[in-house]
Symmetry: C2
Subunit: 501 residues, 2 copies
């Protein structure tokens, strides 16, 4: 138990981020593979050490799943992927890394031994973390020579989707190790939460398990099938749990007092005493397994994982639309990705959007990209320009943003699923409120445009719903870019109208 914990919590929860160049992963099961996917897709080189047969292939599968999920999750510019290399010893894995993350099976002797070995061959300034979901860090660091750089960093499955990582210091952990770990995990899109006291199981798993134990009793006693227990959760308070735990009642302390007064006594009612552990007899295990089989829809594990990820993506995006909870973490990660992305080359020509691959679900019955998706892509290009001139989170909420008032779209060629396209955006003019753009959308490497789009945007002041002048520093950047673009040739289609003859 570290006495400085509350202070550390605050420091660790500051917003600073630090993306490592390389990390070593010891153990490449479901958790290690998820770490690999998260790091690689964030542009971090991963050195993997796992003696088990087929470990790398399983990791590559997780990376492929994560790649698919990340494409759906965000439009922010993902960096070039980090490398994934296999090291045949711990010593080889830890060369030049900033973090060693251990994700071996949940057996304390095994972990102690592995961590002591890693400690022995790793330079003392390198962080070492364990993914343990239950074991105390003081126990795990017992045999290390440099235990001060060790802590628990417990993630959740699938690691590339769920943002929480619980950080827990042992008796001999240095406070700054927590801070440094938090910076790294934040940079790869996670939400580090410092556990104030060292306890077995940390926070989230104790809560999960309490629920699971009660759920097992309900099935054990035939009150419900396992499907019905799942339904009871996902159709009711489960919807709330993506948003909050049980403590967000509203009305501050007074609300909390009223709530505790109303519901607290129920904690002692007879029906809350089933907190013993049901015996995991063969009969009970058979019942669970049979119910699970009956629910199986005949889908492959791969397809089930895709479905699961699609659902996570949808819920995460929903929360992002509210800029709330895990959605806020996502938004912050995207901001980091945008900041770290190489700056677009804006001085020499039109603004260039990153390459975008046409999705197969954008196809209409003719097999072409459906017409409204062209406007969607132009919208992304406009967002890209707006981000470039500084219209992002803070500016948006304080000053406002641009809204499209007119678009003139010309289709000049067909696009198909899988085509890689790029949009070049040129500012044709701007005044205090209006912004006149011209987009050229072309296949990557193709000179002939597939479409052009001319747009007029209006600056709308935050919270008013009315037009208002663009504010600094955006105004300055816009003026500068407009001046640069004034030297570009004016597109022939600009100012055109639709006429039959």
């Amino acid at each position: 138990m570290n006495k400085n914990s509350p202070m550390i919590c605050e420091t660790a929860e500051a917003m600073s981020e630090r993306l490592p160049k390389a990390v070593a992963l010891l153990g490449a099961g479901a958790i290690g593979g998820g770490w690999a996917a998260r790091f690689v897709l964030n542009g971090v080189d991963v050195r993997l050490h796992d003696p088990a047969a087929g470990a790398v292939e399983r990791v590559q599968e997780q990376v492929a799943n994560a790649r698919r999920a990340f494409r759906r999750l965000t439009l922010a510019p993902l960096p070039p992927e980090g490398s994934l290399t296999v090291a045949d010893s711990i010593g080889a894995a830890v060369q030049g890394v900033e973090l060693v993350q251990e994700s071996a099976p949940e057996r304390s002797e095994l972990k102690q031994e592995l961590l002591a070995a890693a400690d022995h061959v790793t330079a003392p300034e390198v962080l070492i973390c364990s993914s343990t979901s239950s074991l105390r860090p003081s126990l795990l660091q017992a045999r290390m020579k440099h235990p001060e750089r060790f802590l628990v960093a417990h993630p959740f499955y699938p690691v590339y989707m769920l943002p929480l990582v619980e950080l827990c210091a042992g008796l001999r952990t240095a406070p700054e190790a927590l801070v440094r770990a938090a910076e790294i995990f934040r940079a790869v899109g996670m939400h580090p939460l410092v556990v104030r006291k060292e306890i077995d199981g940390f926070i989230a798993n104790r809560l999960q398990e309490a629920l699971w134990r009660e759920a097992l009793w309900l099935v054990h006693d035939d009150v419900a099938t396992e499907q019905e227990v799942d339904d009871a959760i996902r159709y009711s308070f489960g919807l709330r749990r993506a948003i909050n735990g049980p403590f967000r009642i509203g009305g501050g302390g007074a609300g909390m007092r009223r709530y505790m007064q109303q519901w607290g006594p129920m904690l002692k009612w007879p029906w809350t005493k089933l907190a013993d552990v049901p015996e995991l007899t063969d009969v009970f295990l058979n019942k669970l397994a049979e119910q699970a089989d009956a629910r199986d829809e005949g889908l492959s594990i791969g397809k089930l994982e895709e479905q699961r990820d699609d659902r996570f993506v949808a819920v995460l995006q929903a929360l992002r639309s509210q800029n709330y909870g895990a959605g806020e973490t996502l938004a912050r990660w995207e901001e980091g990705l945008r900041k770290r992305a190489p700056k677009l080359d804006s001085n020499s020509g039109p603004l260039r959007m990153r390459i975008l691959q046409m999705s197969s679900d954008w196809v209409d019955y003719n097999g072409h990209i459906t017409e409204s998706r062209y406007l969607y892509i132009l919208g992304l290009a406009t967002d890209n320009l707006l981000a470039h001139i500084g219209i992002e989170g803070e500016y948006r909420s304080k000053h406002g943003s641009y809204y499209t008032v007119e678009t003139h779209l010309a289709h000049l060629g067909e696009l198909h699923a899988g085509d890689r396209v790029q949009v070049l955006t040129q500012i044709l003019g701007a005044d205090s409120k209006r912004l006149h753009l011209f987009h050229v959308l072309a296949r990557d490497g193709d000179d002939a445009p597939a479409a052009t789009g001319e747009q007029m945007l209006l600056h709308v002041a935050a919270g008013t719903g009315r037009s208002g002048p663009v504010q600094d520093p955006v105004h300055d950047r816009l003026i500068e870019l407009t001046r640069l673009h004034a030297d570009l040739p004016r597109p022939a289609r600009a100012g055109g109208s639709i006429r039959l003859r």
Copy 2:
């Protein structure tokens, strides 16, 4: 315990729905008010009986909240609202209703008395349900003369948002009462779940409480603040709980066995023994209240409720995009709303597209319908016109179809989720290959357009990828319609171009 429960579960979970004309609500607190909102917005007349001062006003507030939330939640045509009337006696409230729903405070004597009184004055074929969150139906129906029409129908707060309603029969409940109740709750967008055995607290609350009890210990023991407990949940497994309970592991029975083998033993570890109840001492209650106060963002209860509902709406819509869980319930409810909505007919003048309700997942981060969806709607209007002149399956495959080559879109007003819009399409001109259209998109009943869209289409011959003349019989119909539309006034915006000055 009803021996027929599994059979009833299946029957009750069939898809049939039955929307009642009127219901009586006894008790108008947080739960009764939520019932009122759900019923009224589904077009059901509500008779409210609650002797408490200010009850009606609080119910009206909930109805207003729900109205706002439903507008965001769905694009399906909501019916005209049911009436909300106050009855000064139980006898007056139950006149002509199909369901009496009791939502009095959670005290068994009070509920028994109220239910006996309701039973006495209500025709025996009318269903009577209790919203109790903990009391057994056999206990509640003890003093009723017609206990066979009584069951527990336990909803979740806020009742107008969360779809689950747990149905629990008592010893003397008739099986068909469960079926009828399920039909009614399904018709108002809920997911009825039949509890197979009569137990205190039913299913979801036992699970919620297990988690809450563990959460209280974590705060009690200073492992985490209440904020940190909430964070640990919403950034990790809470995201999963909107999607599934703890039993959806994947891989059927074999997956379940592996999972139980891996994690089952942990149920017995020392850290799972904190299942006693923490004493709710003043010191502990003060700590909870102080932490809750420290988190309070100074927002009014009304604002907090709005935020909460917006977050629920976002998560529900995310799940609907996956047609999954609570999202599937939402989709089914919308289908019912659409079926029950009155049909619209077409008339002369510009071609009138059927009324379309703006989908809540078409909303961008500003809360407006995202710009590409305007083009999507124009695409539907164009398809509507093409179908009207005979461009359908056979013509398409034999002769070809029209493709959009240019669109000039002007945004003149904002659209929001739930808005009902209509597009009027006018032919401005046509030649052997080209078709010049003008669309006006307006909210239903609104003269001012929300957008206009001018389009040029080109007839492309089947299988050639090249333009070719339109063929009969489409050609004839097109000529006829073009001639008719030539008499209509030419839209002022037709032929316009985008210019800064």
